[in-house]
């Protein structure tokens, strides 16, 4: 036994507070400690995941107060899978930015790693918590660190982006709090499982109003259209690895919260259709917007939003296959999009405006980064034999089983758009002449390691999808089994 789920939240939070103190002892500790913490978290969550896949969920009670009164953490196959994924991406972000921040002063490095730790804490907390108010707290933690990270470069644009994010985040918090209030006044409980079990008793008007507020609030975090205005700016203006962290960690936490609300807590008809259609709109708007971008990171950001839309569509199908496809998409997106952000930020490293045309001819100068970007691009649009194909196949199969032919057609049409803008970039990287005065930046060893690792995972899953499908099947089964979730939490044996 390496530890319990609660450590996944406590350790990084503690680390975040200790980093400045430890930095006084030895400055390098500021960089090293987060890595050790993330590594430990990854090992812990992987071990726990392996355990819960065989024995069933672990429900951890905080401070001896049993649910529904106390706060509890639920490490089930579903949440455990996400936590493992997030800590893995967190670890990758750390390795990537370890040397990246070496030439930065001590102060910014300290801030960067503290904020990164808090971001991970919050995101992991969102996924693990079984208490809706606790969820609110974690969303706030994520929010605060994310705003600060967006403004990390303390330039005009990043400040503006951070302000937009803050503005939207504040709205989200307000609505979330309102929804929690409504639920609490009606049901007298804040425990998710308890809410879920009492939900049928709730007055329909209140119930739906609370749901609308919740969806709006969480929709902002999960990058749902039309609430995702902040996202592109935040992705673009934050440091490169943080864009990867937003895509791989924060957005996943947002979707998790949304799914938990829709699948577990509420029993309202029509939420699935709502999710399906809003996801579809998000997908279409974001991908068409991405096609017309002239800045690389902005394009990646809109593509990321589009992928979140696709994930919502997959959840909205509502069947076991649909949920399976959604989890597969989440996994792929969490692996591939960071790769694109990592390699993409090297492609436009020395450029001020990060225009797409500044990637021209990079293939000759930084070949490994370029080929990994190309691999990521091919994978995310779902070309076989790379990882993205299997998730695309599974979402289409799930949709076909429900006779959603129009939706299949729309998804595929959007895929073509996606294909076009990614290919345009890849063509530029390899076949265009580099402009004068552009200085390619060779990736550091750490960055190469991270990118190659992610690339290998893409190939591995592409050629051998069974490496991941087993876990995904269990996780999706876990999510759909609402009764079991309620039982596990409420009928907890001390």
């Amino acid at each position: 036994m390496v530890g319990t789920p609660v450590l996944l939240v406590v350790i990084p939070l503690l680390a975040a507070f200790l980093i400045p103190l430890l930095g006084m002892i030895w400055k390098e500790l500021v960089r090293i400690i987060p890595g050790l913490v993330l590594l430990y978290m990854f090992i812990l969550s992987a071990t726990l995941l392996n355990q819960v896949l065989h024995t069933g969920p672990i429900v951890e009670v905080i401070a001896g107060w049993r649910p529904p009164l106390g706060i509890n953490l639920v490490f089930s196959p579903f949440s455990g899978f996400l936590v493992t994924l997030m800590t893995f991406i967190g670890l990758m972000v750390w390795i990537y930015s370890y040397r990246f921040k070496q030439n930065v002063d001590f102060e910014p490095a300290k801030k960067y790693f503290i904020l990164l730790m808090m971001l991970v804490t919050g995101s992991v907390g969102i996924v693990l918590t079984g208490d809706i108010f606790n969820l609110f707290v974690f969303i706030e933690i994520v929010g605060i660190s994310a705003y600060a990270l967006t403004a990390f470069y303390t330039e005009r644009n990043s400040a503006e982006a951070a302000f937009k994010y803050l503005f939207m985040g504040a709205l989200a918090s307000t609505f979330l709090l309102l929804a929690i209030m409504i639920i609490y006044t009606q049901l007298g409980t804040l425990n998710m499982a308890d809410i879920a079990s009492k939900m049928p008793e709730m007055n329909t008007t209140y119930k739906i109003t609370a749901l609308v507020f919740l969806l709006t609030a969480i929709g902002i975090e999960a990058e749902m259209f039309p609430l995702n205005g902040w996202a592109a700016d935040a992705y673009t203006e934050s440091p490169g690895p943080i864009g990867a962290a937003f895509a791989g960690i924060v957005a996943k936490a947002g979707v998790y919260a949304m799914v938990r609300i829709i699948f577990t807590m509420f029993d309202v008809d029509g939420t699935m259709q709502f999710m399906l259609y809003i996801g579809l709109i998000t997908l279409i708007v974001a991908e068409t917007t991405a096609l017309r971008q002239d800045r690389l990171k902005r394009m990646l950001a809109y593509s990321s939003i589009g992928q979140m839309g696709l994930i919502m569509v997959a959840f909205g199908i509502g069947t076991a296959e649909g949920v399976f496809a959604a989890l597969f998409l989440m996994f792929n997106h969490a692996i591939i999009k960071p790769l694109l952000f990592f390699s993409g930020s090297y492609l436009v490293y020395n450029s001020k405006d990060k225009f797409i045309h500044e990637t021209n001819g990079m293939g000759k100068h930084i070949p490994i980064t370029s080929i990994l970007f190309a691999l990521g691009a091919f994978a995310i649009v779902g070309l076989p034999p790379f990882a993205g194909f299997w998730s695309k196949l599974s979402i289409l199969t799930a949709a076909a089983d429900e006779n959603m032919i129009i939706i299949i057609a729309l998804i595929l049409i959007v895929s073509i758009i996606e294909l076009v803008y990614y290919l345009r970039v890849v063509n530029r990287i390899y076949f265009f002449k580099m402009a004068e005065g552009v200085e390619p930046k060779k990736p550091t060893l750490n960055a190469l390691f991270v990118m190659v690792t992610l690339g290998v995972i893409i190939l591995l899953v592409g050629f051998y999808p069974d490496a991941i499908t087993g876990v995904l099947h269990k996780a999706s089964g876990d999510l759909l089994d609402k009764t079991k979730y309620i039982q596990d939490v409420l009928l907890l044996n001390p």
């Binding site: 739906i208 039309p226 708007v285 068409t288 289409l396 076009v420 290919l423």
Partner: protein, 616 residues
Amino acid sequence: MDMIYLIFLIFLSGAVISWLAGKVNHVLQDILFLASVIVPSVLFYMNVSVGQEVHFKAGGIDLSWGITDFGWIFSLIVLGLGVLAAIYSVGFMKGKERRGYFYFNYVLSIMSMLGILFSKDFVSFFIFWEIMTWSSYLMVIYNGKHTQSIGIKYFIFSAIGAYAMLMAIVISHSVTGNFMIADLITAYPVLSFNLQLLIPILLLVGFGVKAALMPLHVWAPGAYSNSPMAYTSVFSGALSKMGVYGLSIVMLSMISHLPEGFWFREVLAWMGAITAAIGTLWAVKQDDAKKLLAYSSVAQLGYIVTGIAIGTELSILAGLFLAVMHAIFKSTLFMAVGAIERQTGTTNFTEVTGLIRKMPWTFLASLMSIIALAGIPPLGGFVGKWMLYESLITSDHYMLIILVFFSSTAAFLYCYKFLFGFFLGQEEKEWAHVKEAPVLMVIPMLVLAGLSFVLGTFPGLILKPIDAGMQALGFAPTNQHLWDTSILFNSWGNQVALQPILYAILGIFVVFTIFLTIKGYKNTRYVTTKDISSSGEVPKEHENLTFSINFFQPFMRAVEPVMRRQIDKYYNGFANGLEALFDFTRKIYTGNGQTYAIYVILFLIIMLLIKNNVFG
């Protein structure tokens, strides 16, 4: 390990290794490249028999690979051509950059095509199909020109096709519960009428793109002419045949069960014939040999599709036979153009002339292929075209035969243009230094030219396997002696009776030529190109005597109205319209924080207003 796995493993690792080997040594790289194409091909013919299967699971999906009789015919095209073009490529790529890139994609293309033939389930079919698409895409943009126009256009059309196919695949999965192709074919006759229509249409779109069927052909001329010629011979020769392969499976094993299949067949046959006619006209117009051959490929594929679409035994036989022949002669021609391009640096008829003495072997190969293409006996094209005409007549498609006959005749124009433009005509000083292509490039061309002669003379060699393949698809049993069903051979008795007559004619011709040559040799006086007088005037040194420029101007003027409406323009207009539309949606994201906040508030208000309609 099963041999089938081994073959694919060699292909896959060969692709990667022959890429990386370039860092070590170029000769080693060439050898490894050849080995990674030839070794699996040999293993395939030595050790894999029809009917042998392997099963495995990936991602919880049952997959199964095995070769059928029908796939076996196409494997001849893919691997035969693959090996020959690989040898050619080694010569072609000598001294060029990005060899590793070329070899990698080449091997992957061959692997994916063989994989398509091996796939018994839709998932592996699709995977290989897409590998084929992107590896050929990477070849199209190999030289870095027109990547954003021709390259992207090729990929968009391929993606449209592939995604249409993917849609059919997932729909069929929802019906049959698995991805087996055979299960869909079994279940097809009892499907609902809508699905009976939808699935074949989607599949036909998918295959039609690769088979360059009008109106999905617009990518083909650009893509064929833009990729390196060593690859185009495979691209046009084998890769397009994958579309034909899929098309024939759909037509033969699905549409033939459909009571309304008649209309399907008619429409497709007409599309094929129109493709042939338009493709031919455009080919005649071209001044660039690559473009000419590219349009000619489109046209030839049109015949093939027509043949398969008509759906009688003879017409399918004709279509498939033409497919094999087209693979042979068109790839030879592309190789010849590649050789000319390599030696002279251009492929424009108006620039290069009079190569016959400089590149005699290339000329010989081109000549034979042109004869085959034009459908003159005794080379391969003749038998195929004859069977096609006959099948059209016997199935009462008189209007169609006019169209096919027209395009087939018009094809003579570009055939002549090709031969004359490059090889005949006035010799110019500019090309005096040109030498014959390297032997590695010449041999594959000559082998292929020889093949088109052999198969044209003994069509039974390839008709028998085709017949076996058609029966394997569950098609009506054909006659035992296929060549008996052709009027040509019937009226002359049989094949044995015809050949002596053909060869007697040929023999007389050859003897006569030899006689003339020997007799005339003594009196020969070598003349320079300008040593003539025209209308009493002796041409000056700088005057251009070749009429390669503005070939067939009156003809082009006559058909100009047909060609004015280019479908390509409509596509471009559509694409531009879409981009403008997307530019509009992009403006939803104004970049203004207040607007975004208003979106949130509006969203909330609207949701609260309509909440009872949405959630219930």
